[in-house]
């Protein structure tokens, strides 16, 4: 696709196209001002801030327990991981030891939530590329996970389930057996997804070699999670900077090869299988016991600065808390993976046909609640 150059006989001019903020495939209120000539994109400039709710400003007037419901609404498809990230940072600051059962319940709910979030990626990514049916299958499976969470903590999306020092409720009777049954059934479903989509030649043609970037570009742009591992670079916080009890399970980190949409897609699918493995092992190792540690009635974080990041579904999700010893944080900054992952778009969208723009944006899988914060 040669760009328009001066020797053109037919005088063509670029067209400025506004993709978003209300567009079927921008995964939320995300706008891109795209300069295109014919079908090729010359320049793309992302515009964000449509979902900025000032969570960081609000957090400066809320006690730590009151901030937890706000973290549900950051990355609204994986609320458990947001809860855990905040709660983990405060626990590290206070140095509280978490009871064993609470750790296991946390790992089970986080991995199930990661699975649900990857299912959403799988469904909406195929919808962007034109196939309708995988979306329905993925959302039916996700519905089962959401029902289990509903039974566990009473909410479908905004769980507000984790507390500083453990989790709010213990698992209701029969819940762990339900999770076990779901994990077994889900393995069969994964085989169906592979047959339905992974082999499809049209899908491969749409996805292979599209939206490629190198490890240096990814590291320079602060990409994390699947968007970094798709270039073949092994950086998963659960293994590199271990937290919680991830070292008690044996699972590997799937790696891509050349950082294109295909690698990102296949990594999402393999990470789903890894999450299933972790949940399966956690179900065997979980023992009855308390779910909440001894925590002071009013949580005061000692003065100082704390940062700790965990492996969210879209990358490294961290909280930077500056505390002046009071029960409210002096400053709370949220390191949001989707905010960094979107910065590489202007570079990889140059000279790309319009059809691929949708494929690339879908593969980076941003969640706009997180980008705005």
């Amino acid at each position: 696709m040669a760009l328009t150059d001066e020797t053109d006989v037919v005088r063509t001019e670029e067209m400025l196209l506004n993709v978003g903020p209300q567009h079927p495939s921008t995964h939320g209120v995300f706008r891109m001002v795209v300069k295109i000539s014919g079908e090729t994109i010359l320049e793309a400039e992302p515009v964000i801030g449509y979902l900025h709710r000032g969570t960081e400003k609000l957090a400066e007037n809320l006690q730590y327990t009151q901030i937890i419901p706000y973290t549900d609404r950051l990355d609204y498809v994986s609320a458990m991981l947001n809860n855990y990230s905040l709660v983990h940072t405060v626990e590290e600051a206070l140095g509280i030891a978490i009871p064993d059962r609470a750790e296991y319940i946390r790992v089970i709910t986080m991995e199930l939530n990661r699975l649900a979030s990857h299912l959403i990626f799988f469904g909406t990514y195929l919808l962007d590329l034109g196939a309708m049916t995988p979306f329905l299958y993925a959302f039916e499976e996700r519905e089962k996970i959401i029902d289990m969470f509903n039974e566990l903590c009473g909410a479908r999306i905004t769980f507000n389930y984790m507390r500083i020092g453990g989790v709010k409720y213990d698992t209701p009777p029969g819940w762990l057996e339900q999770v076990d049954a779901f994990v077994k059934r889900m393995k069969g479903e994964m085989v169906k997804y592979r047959n339905l989509v992974t082999g499809n030649e049209i899908f491969l043609a749409r996805v292979r070699g599209v939206g490629k970037y190198t490890t240096e570009q990814a590291l320079g742009h602060g990409m994390s999670g699947i968007n970094l591992r798709c270039t073949g670079y092994n950086w998963d916080l659960r293994k590199k900077k271990p937290y919680s009890i991830y070292d008690r399970f044996d699972w590997e980190v799937p790696l891509g090869k050349n950082g294109d949409c295909w690698d990102r897609y296949i990594l999402h699918m393999e990470e789903m299988e890894q999450s299933l493995r972790i949940v399966e092992q956690a179900l065997q190792q979980i023992q009855p016991g308390p779910v909440l540690a001894k925590v002071p009635k009013l949580i005061r974080v000692p003065a100082g600065e704390y940062y700790s990041g965990i492996e969210g579904t879209r990358g490294e999700l961290g909280f930077y808390i500056v505390s002046d010893g009071k029960d409210k944080p002096y400053r709370l900054k949220i390191r949001r993976p989707s905010f960094e992952n979107l910065q590489i778009l202007p570079i990889i969208l140059k000279g790309v046909p319009v059809g691929d723009m949708v494929a690339i944006l879908g593969s980076i899988d941003p969640v706009l609640g997180e980008v705005g914060a």
Partner: protein, 150 residues
């Protein structure tokens, strides 16, 4: 080479599968016990300790009480502005006597914004409805009833 034929095989094999559609208006989904719908309130249990109003992140609970004849605190008005309530159930956590709880009425839409200001009577009715719908579920009792019970 024939990957898409496998895909076609998968879709056609789903044809006879059981359908998952729920006929919503006719069949209502039944929610688990811990489901967080609109609040329900038991005025006798409330000791007007103001904990719930203080913990609420969006401060949408406003209540007032007075001392009755034998110097005991009684609740008089208890309003929840469910327009900004985010149903996080922190209030039910901190309530020492479990006076405020979550019911499973989830149809909260209304045409008029005033309907979203739920007063004590509405919340208490919601409690009676909840008891009627779920007779088997345990209802917190006042300590008087507890003493009477055992």
């Amino acid at each position: 080479m024939f990957g898409f034929l496998k895909g076609l095989g998968v879709t056609i094999s789903q044809l006879p599968k059981k359908k998952v559609t729920l006929m919503y208006p006719d069949e209502k989904p039944e929610w688990p016990e811990r489901f967080r719908g609109v609040h329900r309130f038991i005025p006798e249990l409330c000791t007007v300790c103001n904990q719930c109003a203080r913990i609420c992140p969006t401060s949408c609970i406003s209540l007032s009480g007075a001392r009755d004849e034998n110097r005991k605190l009684r609740i008089e008005t208890y309003d929840i502005n469910s327009d900004i309530c985010i149903l996080c159930s922190l209030c039910t956590e901190v309530c020492p006597t479990e006076a405020i709880l979550m019911s499973d009425t989830f149809e909260n839409a209304s045409y008029v914004r005033d309907d979203l200001y739920l007063d004590m009577h509405w919340l208490y009715n919601n409690e009676l409805e909840y008891e009627r719908r779920h007779p088997d579920r345990a209802i917190p009792e006042t300590d008087v009833q507890k003493k009477a019970g055992d």
